[in-house]
Symmetry: C2
Subunit: 147 residues, 2 copies
DNA sequence: TTTAATTCCTATTAATTTAGTAGGAATTAT
DNA sequence: ATAATTCCTACTAAATTAATAGGAATTAAA
């Protein structure tokens, strides 16, 4: 399961992609109220997103946060890694944060690794393509279907 | 990432599927040594697997654990759920352990949910098919390729 | 029928991670 | 100057993880 931090981050980002196309500074408290995220907690999350180069900020009065890049350039894999660590379910199949499994005698012939490598590849295929732009588009498309 | 508990469980099960085709009781200490799992911790894990109907046990002298079902009938999704909870990354896309996301105004048109639903479907497709028999087969097939 | 070897079961614990909160410094627009 | 904001460090409470401890119950065999 995603941590609350990751979920809050995704919700905040989708909010900005949808409601702030002009990319002007939006205050923390505005986002916090709109998306029902504890104010101070969100503050820390947005700071992390900014330090990761995903958001930009302006300080002082009328300051706030806005997307640094185009919503097409921000995907779920990046956001999830930032808050919850590797996407892979085993350290030995991660490519960003690879670590050998303790006591694994032969990685090359490990059937368990083979399975979880497949899971990672498929998961990443979806999450890399799931950009903020894509998510906003999906919402609209789902809304049309229902109508 | 999988918890240690889940990893230990998978290792123990694959060991039994590979090394104990006759399905006779194998002692905890044997498995613990072969797979480098802390003895007492493994004890609790095997008990859980037994209570879940995956292993059988015999008590007393020469007692131990063995697979209750055919290795074809035991898959990774079942084992992971037992120790780490739902496979889904969001409660609102789980079907076994469904829970509404707090403050989600409209699940039917949620683009985030749409993405994570896709992830769950693909992950489950792989994990449901990843049986103990499959994993043992994969190992052998990988070993052949290398040779 | 005693003994040795084992699983079964409950309770406890230490370390880590998660989900926040507190308080004030620094910055900026007016 | 002042008001409104982000920035930054430190702290905390609760939950989860990764075990360990100790003994009861069971079983095979001498």
């Amino acid at each position: 399961m995603l941590s609350r931090k990751a979920k809050y981050a995704i919700n905040a980002l989708v909010f900005l992609a949808r409601e702030n196309k002009k990319r002007e500074p939006i205050q923390i408290s505005k986002i916090s109220e709109s998306e029902n995220i504890p104010r101070k907690f969100l503050e820390a999350i947005l700071l992390d997103l900014r330090n990761a180069g995903i958001l930009q900020s302006r300080k002082g009065k009328f300051g706030g946060y806005y997307l640094q890049k185009d919503p097409k350039e921000i995907n779920m894999a990046t956001v999830m890694r930032l808050f919850d660590g590797p996407i892979a379910l085993l350290p030995c199949v991660a490519s960003n944060n690879y670590e050998q499994c303790e006591e694994c005698t032969d990685e090359a012939t490990c059937g368990i690794r083979d399975v979880f490598s497949e899971v990672r590849i498929e998961t990443l295929r979806i999450l890399n393509n799931a950009t903020l732009a894509d998510i906003v588009k999906r919402s609209k498309s789902l809304a049309k279907k229902i109508k």
